[in-house]
Amino acid sequence: MDAGETFGPGDATATATAAPARDEVFVRAVDLPTLSLRQARAAVGHQLDILSPLPPAEVVASVVLVGPTEEGLNRYAVGLAPRRLIAETPAEGRTVTLIGRLDGQVIAFRFSRGGRETGLGAWLEIAILAGACLAIVLAAANLRVDREIDAVQAKVDAADAGVQQKSHEAAALARVAGAWRVAAATRRAGLVDCALTSLVKASGAPVKIAGVALAGGQLTVRLAAPPTTGAVAALKALGVTQVAASAQAPAGPAPAGAAPGAPADAAAAVLPMQDFQTSVAACR
């Protein structure tokens, strides 16, 4: 059967049957229709002021199921002991066991040692249970967050690898784009059209060209025939300047009047200059 319990004052609703008190415990028998010790305790608690010979505030009660009655009810023995006695009785733990007698039958009643101690114990039990539950929840949360961190870290690693690859790609692209922009700015193809137009404009007539060389943003044109002085001046005004024959000049036919087989520098020294040069910045 279950343990005895301490009760305080309450409403009296159950019927009580008096029994002789023996030892330190005053015992009463109570017939109740329930087998539930909890309900029996509650009923006794409500009737404590009726059942107790002492003021309810000064007693503690313990309930023990004795057995069924002939009327189909269940008989409980209610042990009532002075609260002072319980407090003064040496005992192990938080309970005091006292012997009582009901109709000559020995009954061991278990009394809790005072309300405050009972409250502390209950609170400790609740705290332990709550702590255990909270610990389980926290441990689960720890595991979950651990996994989440691992997953996010894996994503970070992948993203970092991607960023590194893209960085290399972007850096290579930046180098290519920079070189492309520089080349595009200095190597304007329109320079050929500009130079040819300038030649026609300066000569006032179609010009025969022996060769054209465009490299590094510089255009060199070798005329097939020596230009007139006026044409040279006009070309200079248009940004096309006369230059001595050089290695960068077009490898076309030698300027008119050059001796066959003569060295190039010698020819450049004695022959009229037919090479003209211009650049993107100069050509107008």
Binding site: L124, L138, E169, R188, A215
Partner: protein, 171 residues
């Protein structure tokens, strides 16, 4: 035999207190660890967001590329496509060679072509205007023309062009 109501052993208060203290310590430890973990998770999340932002910026940079492609090598070899373009300008293309290629983002490559052929002055002028009009996609790196007896010149062109879909980069 006496009836007894003492069926549940009472736990000593000291043991209960010890258990409660133990539970409190465990809970506190787990709570502190959870706090640290959440902080780490937040930090890692920030790292991830930063990495994704950087990746997006780099994607945008790479997507901008160098310029628009002049030639799409998906349908025909790039050298052949360039030769066809030059022929349409009036040049007689004898040889077109792709000599180098450098990746330029968005599936593009900067390709260096060397073209040999023959052209008159008008064709050369047209070539220069065409290259100038496509300056974002092509750069006339070098042009050498030497007049022949028939009024046409032997021409050698080095042209850099942006090509889409160029598979392998020649050395």
């Amino acid at each position: 035999m006496p009836l007894t109501a003492d069926t549940t052993a009472a736990r000593p208060t000291a043991l209960s207190v010890a258990l409660a203290a133990l539970a409190a310590i465990v809970v506190l430890g787990l709570a502190i660890r959870l706090g640290l973990q959440l902080s780490a998770l937040h930090s890692v999340g920030n790292d991830l967001a930063e990495a994704r932002r950087t990746a997006a910026e780099l994607d945008r940079t790479v997507a901008e590329g160098v310029g628009a492609p002049l030639i799409d090598a998906g349908a025909a070899p790039a050298a052949d496509a360039l030769a066809a373009r030059l022929r349409s300008l009036g040049l007689v293309v004898q040889k077109t060679q792709l000599v180098a290629a450098t990746p330029a983002g968005r599936g593009l490559a900067v390709a260096r072509f060397v073209v040999e052929g023959r052209a008159d002055a008008v064709s050369l002028d047209r070539l220069s205007l065409w290259a100038d009009a496509n300056a974002r996609s092509a750069i006339l790196e070098e042009l050498t023309a030497n007049a022949g007896d028939d009024g046409k010149s032997n021409v050698r062109i080095e042209l850099d062009a942006l090509v889409r879909g160029l598979k392998a980069a020649p050395s």
